[in-house]
């Protein structure tokens, strides 16, 4: 019999690792709607987004609004406001305001269309994969960032829509 460098411990360790890699089907998953603002990727929880609207929905400008409130849209005979998320979050990088995508977002108190640059994906991620936001996060973003998640080797900032809309109604942005 020839010696073999593999040990039982190695095999067990490998199997333990494999077991760790198996997704716990009982673990709660969260749906995320991932989108871009400029070069950065963000996400809202799927439960706060009821619809992704097709590109090209005309936005009617309404005078007297802050620049972050792009106007309103006619959504099947209902009027919805349109908020430019990049402006609300005071993101310094360039974001477009003409060729983006609209998400229809809602929280218990209100709803609004949300202007983002592009929708990348809608995915389910295990709750445990959402990491606590770093302490280095800019102060003005802290109330709205629920966490970070890695998706396709990219860091996604998960946003909490409820406080964002609530604060926006009261004068944020």
């Amino acid at each position: 019999m020839t010696s073999n460098s593999t040990t039982v411990e190695d095999i067990l360790a490998q199997k333990r690792g494999t077991l760790r890699d198996i997704i716990d089907v009982n673990e709660k998953t969260l749906k995320l709607v991932i989108f871009t603002l400029g070069s950065e990727a963000y996400a809202f929880y799927g439960h706060s987004i009821s619809e992704i609207l097709p590109k090209g929905v005309p936005i009617f400008f309404i005078p007297g609004c802050p620049s972050s409130l792009l106007g309103v849209i006619n959504l099947r005979g209902e009027i919805e406001s349109v908020i430019h998320i990049g402006s609300v979050l005071k993101l310094s990088h360039e974001t477009s305001s003409t060729d983006g995508t609209l998400l229809l977002g809602h929280c218990p108190a209100m709803r609004s269309a949300l202007y983002v640059d592009n929708v990348l994906d809608v995915v389910d991620v295990p709750e445990s994969e959402i990491q606590t936001p770093p302490e280095t996060l800019p102060e003005h973003l802290k109330p709205y960032v629920a966490g970070l998640v890695i998706f396709q080797e990219r860091t996604i900032t998960v946003l909490n829509l409820d406080p964002l809309l609530t604060d926006y109604r009261q004068g944020l942005g």
Binding site: F60, I62, P63, G64, C65, P66, L69, V72, N74, G77, E78, I79, E80, S81, I83, A109, M110, R111, S112, L165, Y168, R169, Q170, G171
Partner: protein, 134 residues
């Protein structure tokens, strides 16, 4: 209330492009063509503004002929409003009159903006001239 019921609206544009509606019940009378520079119309007992001034637009649109709408509140003559022709009276059915989305209502500072009318994919701003929006 029947959604097909109509509301008489006086319709015109402001700033050259914004379709505006004001309920007919607020209009005491309409005077013929007026010269916006005519001091005589500004010496009346109540203030006379152009619609652009009322809405806080940066510049007056010195467009075609203008009309002077005398607005009343509780049957008291309250304000003169100079608007550009054409000025039309339309019956707007209730189902086309939509409330302001909550965020728009909270953040828009357009004086008097009360609702939006949506007809044939055209959006009009319904103003209640005596509604304060601060």
């Amino acid at each position: 209330m029947n959604d097909r019921a109509g509301v008489d609206m006086v319709c015109f544009t402001a700033g050259g492009s914004w379709p505006i509606m004001i309920e007919r019940r607020y209009i005491a009378r309409m005077e013929g063509y007026v010269d916006r520079q005519d001091n005589a119309i500004h010496s009346a007992d109540c203030p006379v503004l152009t619609i652009e001034q009322l809405l806080g637009f940066s510049s007056d649109q010195m467009l075609q002929k203008s009309r002077l709408l005398w607005l009343k509140n509780d049957e008291i003559l309250n304000m003169g409003l100079i608007v550009s022709e054409p000025v039309e009276l339309k019956k707007v059915i209730g189902e086309t009159i939509l409330p302001l989305p909550e965020i728009l209502a909270a953040r828009c500072r357009l004086p008097g903006l009360q609702a939006i009318a949506l007809m044939d994919d055209t959006l009009s701003l319904i103003l209640s001239p005596f509604l304060s929006r601060v």
